[in-house]
């Protein structure tokens, strides 16, 4: 994992793979899922996110939408990373992801493939793309806590 951050070719391959074959890329008609519709204010990105929380565990994550390569890959990677985690684990991952985006210290081991977006903070106009689905996930979990 340590080498991924410094390997642009591998990073590109991971993003292309998730863009061309996005994981968990189908919504489901099930009332037990929490849903959120995410729009970017600055571009076309338009993603719907669904999360199934069961007994403190994120049992399923799904998304669909129209989005750029960065936003699609970010959502796909996020869905794989979060699926099966407890809510507290997911929250820790989310926190580390946003630290990474903000160019602060973060735990690489926790973020796995998501470290491909490590440099996105330097491309300020793409930060929205890389964080759209993550912001949606955080909002769903925050809402869940309030219940």
């Amino acid at each position: 994992m340590n080498s991924l951050k410094d390997n642009p070719i591998l990073k590109r391959e991971i993003i292309m793979d998730h863009y061309e074959n996005p994981r968990n890329n189908q919504l489901i008609d099930d009332e037990n899922y929490r849903k959120i519709h995410l729009y970017s204010s600055s571009c076309l990105d338009d993603i719907q996110l669904q999360v199934l929380i069961s007994q403190g565990v994120i049992a399923d994550v799904r998304f669909e939408g129209i989005a750029c390569a960065v936003a699609t890959a970010a959502a796909s990677i996020m869905s794989e990373l979060i699926k099966g985690r407890s809510i507290s684990q997911a929250e820790e991952i989310i926190e580390n992801y946003f630290s990474m985006i903000a160019q602060k210290d973060y735990d690489e081991q926790l973020l796995k493939e998501a470290v491909v977006f490590e440099g996105i903070g330097r491309q300020v106009n793409r930060v929205n793309c890389a964080t759209l689905s993550w912001k949606g996930l955080k909002q769903l979990l925050d809402e869940d806590e309030k219940r």
């Binding site: 642009p8 590109r12 061309e20 076309l44 750029c68 390569a69 960065v70 977006f117 440099g119 491309q123």
Partner: protein
């Protein structure tokens, strides 16, 4: 002779960079760069004649007021109308809202019809939707032809005795077509309706004569023609301005009011200019118009046409491009780039172009109703102005040739 090198020296932004590369600005449909004289005019207001207009109790205020009213005359001369028919607005959007609300609310009733097209910008759709909600009138869409053009024939087919307002773009911001407003106006008037023209993308690029077009209203923005942001113009035939309610009420637009709720408004154009306007922006717009007139609108239109023809013919040579309007009338070209047959998402390509100094917009360009017609969700838009060059087009072509999914992703690292 179009002195392009001399013209380019008038625009300080053309000396700047984008992501460290020399700026190549091809997003003129969104806004335009400003010549020195416009910047100087804005500065002159702040440095030499700052004071409010409408209340010339002292000499300085008289100077500001005089400069402001002169700007109205410059606009009137530019579009060939009377100065009292020129209302300064905050931009095209403001003008369209003023007309939809102010004229529509007074003159439309339930089951009347408003005709627009799917090629309109959001600012020429949403105000009409609201007017329909408020009055019970209906918004109907005039079908475009197969190329996406507004034709006189289709306008005629859509007209009937219930239609009270037709509101159309003169130059499409996505497809770059110029509509035959003169013929459309004749048809609309024959049917007893009025014609509102969105000139945001046409007035900066082609000579506009409201008498010849015979439109009832024309709106445009200063910032798309080298002027400051937050200033625009709403032209209206005076007898129609007299029949219109102001959208904004407040200072500067009334003669008197009393505790019983009585209000007496000023006549047009003052009636529609409540509150302190962007005085420096109006003065900057005046400088921008004079700058365009000095070069000559006919020369500008001709140069832009030649540049557009060159851009289209060079872009057509690419084998990784889809052009949605291969025959635009003005310098707006909407396209997408493909990689092994797959259309690349416009924003990814635009970010790649940005790395090379090229500023182009991707997206739906605020014309969200148009996309079904085009068969795509979004495009990349190259929009030209008279300071662009063939050399800049060549750079665009060179970079587009290298745009692939890989190269577009690599720019984020």
């Amino acid at each position: 002779m179009f002195e392009i090198d001399k013209i380019r020296r008038d625009f300080p932004m053309l000396e700047r960079t984008n992501e460290g590369k020399p700026l190549i600005y091809l997003d003129n449909g969104a806004t335009t760069l400003k010549p020195d004289c416009v910047i100087a005019a804005v500065n002159n207001y702040y440095q030499n004649i700052t004071s409010n207009i409408h209340r010339g109790d002292y000499h300085l205020a008289y100077l500001a007021d005089q400069a402001y009213q002169q700007a109205r005359e410059v606009v009137a001369d530019f579009i060939n109308c009377q100065s009292k028919e020129v209302v300064f607005t905050y931009g095209t959007t403001h003008g369209l809202n003023q007309i939809a609300y102010g004229y529509g609310i007074k003159n439309l009733k339930k089951d009347d019809e408003i005709l627009i097209t799917v090629a309109e910008h959001a600012s020429n759709i949403l105000p009409w939707y609201r007017l329909a909600q408020l009055t019970g009138a209906k918004v109907r869409f005039i079908p475009l032809d197969e190329k996406g053009k507004i034709t006189v024939e289709n306008v005629k087919l859509a007209l009937n005795e219930r239609v009270k307002i037709v509101s159309l773009t003169h130059g499409s911001n996505v497809l770059g077509y110029i509509s035959d407003i003169k013929a459309i106006a004749a048809a609309v008037h024959e049917a007893g309706a009025i014609l509102v023209v969105d000139g945001a993308q046409s007035v900066p690029h082609i000579k506009t004569d409201v008498k010849e077009l015979d439109c009832d209203f024309l709106v445009f923005s200063g910032h798309k023609m080298g002027g400051p942001t937050a200033v625009g113009v709403m032209y209206g035939k005076y007898q129609l301005l007299e029949k219109m309610e102001p959208l904004l009420l407040g200072g500067g637009m009334n003669y008197r009011f009393d505790i019983a709720g009585q209000m007496l408004f000023k006549d047009a154009p003052d009636r529609f200019e409540a509150g302190t306007p962007g005085i420096e922006a109006v003065l900057g717009l005046k400088a921008a118009i004079q700058y365009l007139q000095n070069i000559g609108m006919d020369k500008i239109a001709l140069y832009e046409k030649q540049l557009k023809d060159y851009a289209v013919s060079e872009m057509k040579k690419l084998d990784n491009i889809i052009i949605y309007n291969p025959e635009p009338d003005i310098g707006i070209i909407s396209f997408n780039i493909t990689d092994q047959g797959r259309v690349l998402f416009g924003q990814d390509v635009a970010a790649y172009l940005s790395k090379h100094g090229l500023c182009l917009r991707s997206g739906n360009h605020c014309a969200k109703n148009l996309w079904h017609h085009l068969g795509t969700d979004s495009t990349i838009r190259c929009s030209l102005y008279f300071y662009n060059t063939k050399k800049e087009i060549d750079k665009l072509i060179e970079v587009l040739k290298t745009a692939t999914l890989e190269s577009c992703i690599d720019v984020i690292f």
